[in-house]
């Protein structure tokens, strides 16, 4: 049996999305849009899980930044999501994200930088070599998964745009398009969804600009075509379907902090000692593993990424939650 081990940068970004597939997919999606009956809940999951739409995006695993935990199943990772732009139920994104068009897609990088950029998603994919990292994902709601992401460190992008001395924070903005995102109609949050990091957090080698998972491009419900992954923070800090990255001098407003400041702080580091007002953060349920006959597992400080602790030396993490 021949086992092909994908080499580092084995698949060029230009090979990732053959144009015909991208176009046929677009046509398919447009067809859905013009046939509202077909675009019902029945066809959407079929689309989300359709093999043809799963575009391979292989990259070599970076062992240095991968945990030893068992990866969650692809099904769990793609059917149990918080992505309010498609509805507040965790089953909604898988049902309704079929209407998102991840190509063509441009992402704007501006603010306090010397070289602002507006990049097409395919150009972004070529910006730096892609790698796979198996990260823990801890949701603020008390559950967790382990997901093999594909991307490159955000620091690579930061280097290219050359932040000015004023750049203290980075703000991420998610797409807010009523036509593609049915959840935008509800006023659960102020759209567009924005998130932010301090510069040193953004430049940390763990912070991954992510374009794929499980060896394929990001499924729509997981934040296609590009999202951020900050593994030592609660999941909501990792903004999905990003259209803009802005460098700022002042701390950006973040959606959940605006919506419920007592419950969600700017930092939102995974911290078993600081409870959410309505539940304990001391333990978590690993999806697919911790079932009916096991106790929930203990949540680790910084989600088990102690190397980030130095970013917060001298800070009272109870106050800056």
């Amino acid at each position: 049996m021949l086992i092909k081990i994908p080499r580092h940068n084995d698949v060029l970004a230009s090979e990732i999305t053959p144009r015909e597939i991208a176009i046929s997919r677009r046509a398919f999606l447009q067809g859905l849009a013009t046939a509202p009956l077909l675009a019902s809940a029945w066809s959407a999951p079929a689309l989300a899980n359709e093999p043809a739409s799963r575009l391979r995006l292989m990259a070599q695993r970076n062992a240095k930044y991968s945990v030893a935990d068992k990866a969650s199943s692809f099904t769990d990772a793609t059917t149990y999501n918080n992505f309010y732009e498609f509805g507040t139920d965790k089953g909604d994104p898988a049902l309704y994200a079929g209407s998102l068009k991840p190509r063509p897609w441009t992402i704007k990088i501006d603010g306090e930088v010397k070289k602002p950029l507006t990049l097409d998603i395919d150009a972004l994919l070529k910006l730096a070599p892609l790698e796979e990292r198996l990260y823990r994902l801890r949701c603020v709601e008390g559950w967790s998964m382990v997901i093999p992401w594909v991307g490159f460190p955000l620091s690579e992008l930061i280097k290219r745009v050359e932040p000015t001395g004023n750049a203290k924070y980075v703000e991420f903005t998610t797409l807010a398009d009523r036509a593609q995102m049915p959840g935008i109609r509800s006023r659960v949050l102020d759209w567009p969804y924005t998130e932010g990091l301090r510069m040193d957090e953004a430049a940390h080698p763990l912070t991954l600009l992510t374009v794929g998972m499980y060896g394929q491009v990001l499924p729509n419900q997981n934040g296609a075509p590009v999202r951020i992954i900050v593994p030592w923070k609660y999941g909501f800090k990792s903004a999905k379907s990003i259209v803009r990255i802005r460098f700022t001098e002042t701390q950006p407003k973040t959606s959940w902090n605006v919506a419920a400041p007592d419950e969600y702080g700017f930092f939102s580091n995974v911290n078993p000692e600081v409870d959410h007002p309505r539940w304990s953060q001391a333990t978590e349920r690993r999806i697919g593993e911790d079932g009916f006959f096991t106790k929930k597992r203990k949540t680790l400080m910084f989600n088990g990424y102690p190397e980030v602790a130095s970013l917060y030396t001298g800070m009272d993490l109870r106050k800056f939650y």
């Binding site: 769990d76 059917t79 559950w143 309505r278």
Partner: protein
């Protein structure tokens, strides 16, 4: 329409079986791994939801009986009330078992520390005396105090709704709590309306009898 006593027994049996359907459905879904990525969360939510649905049904009986003048409806009220208790027990079990895996000190701390759980737990405690005194014998023994005691269900309704609102406050997803609150509000308002109607009737008949005396 009057229901024959024998038919009423069949009706009660049918209601009993239907009321068990949510439980059976969720058992079936659990066994078949059809509850999604987080079955434990699904069961916790379902048991809480069904407690509230049965609470609304139980509260609906009396106003419905008054409006339709179908007195046999009253015989369903006890069973529905006991199903409120039954599903609330299941909901409590999900909390004790799935959330804390029977760690009693942790459970006590959580109930005490988290207001939304404190509210839900208080509502459950208040249901216990109602379930215990639901038998005919207890009803006879308590006499008119029975009705007073069972007004606790109004406090239970309000606590349970607050528990639901608070649980949803993080996601600001208030559609269902709002709907249930409107339903409970209508059902409680119906009681206030009929109680004040009876009070007015009592006063007028009292006034009439006084008029008759003075004449």
């Amino acid at each position: 329409m009057r229901l024959h006593a024998a038919r009423l027994i069949y009706l009660k049996r049918a209601v009993f079986v239907v009321a068990l359907l949510p439980l059976l459905t969720y058992l079936w879904l659990t066994i078949n791994h059809a509850l999604g990525a987080n079955p434990i969360e699904a069961l916790t939510r379902a048991s809480g939801d069904w407690t509230l649905y049965f609470l609304c049904l139980a509260l609906a009986i009396t106003p419905l009986r008054r409006i339709t003048k179908q007195n046999w409806l009253q015989t369903l009220r006890r069973m529905l009330g006991l199903f409120v208790f039954f599903y609330s027990c299941l909901h409590l079990i999900t909390f004790i078992w799935f959330d804390h895996f029977f760690d009693m000190s942790e459970i006590v701390r959580d109930v005490w520390k988290r207001p939304f759980i404190t509210l839900g737990f208080t509502a459950f405690l208040l249901l216990i005396p109602l379930a215990i005194t639901s038998t005919n014998a207890m009803q006879r023994r308590l006499g008119r105090h029975w009705a007073h005691l069972h007004r606790l269900v109004y406090a239970v309704s309000i606590l349970a709704l607050l528990h639901f609102w608070w649980m949803r406050s993080g996601k600001q997803n208030f559609g269902e709590p709002l709907l249930l609150t409107v339903i409970v509000f209508i059902l409680l308002a119906a009681r206030v309306a009929s109680a004040s109607q009876r009070w007015i009737q009592a006063r007028t008949s009292l006034a009439d009898s006084r008029d008759a005396e003075s004449r």
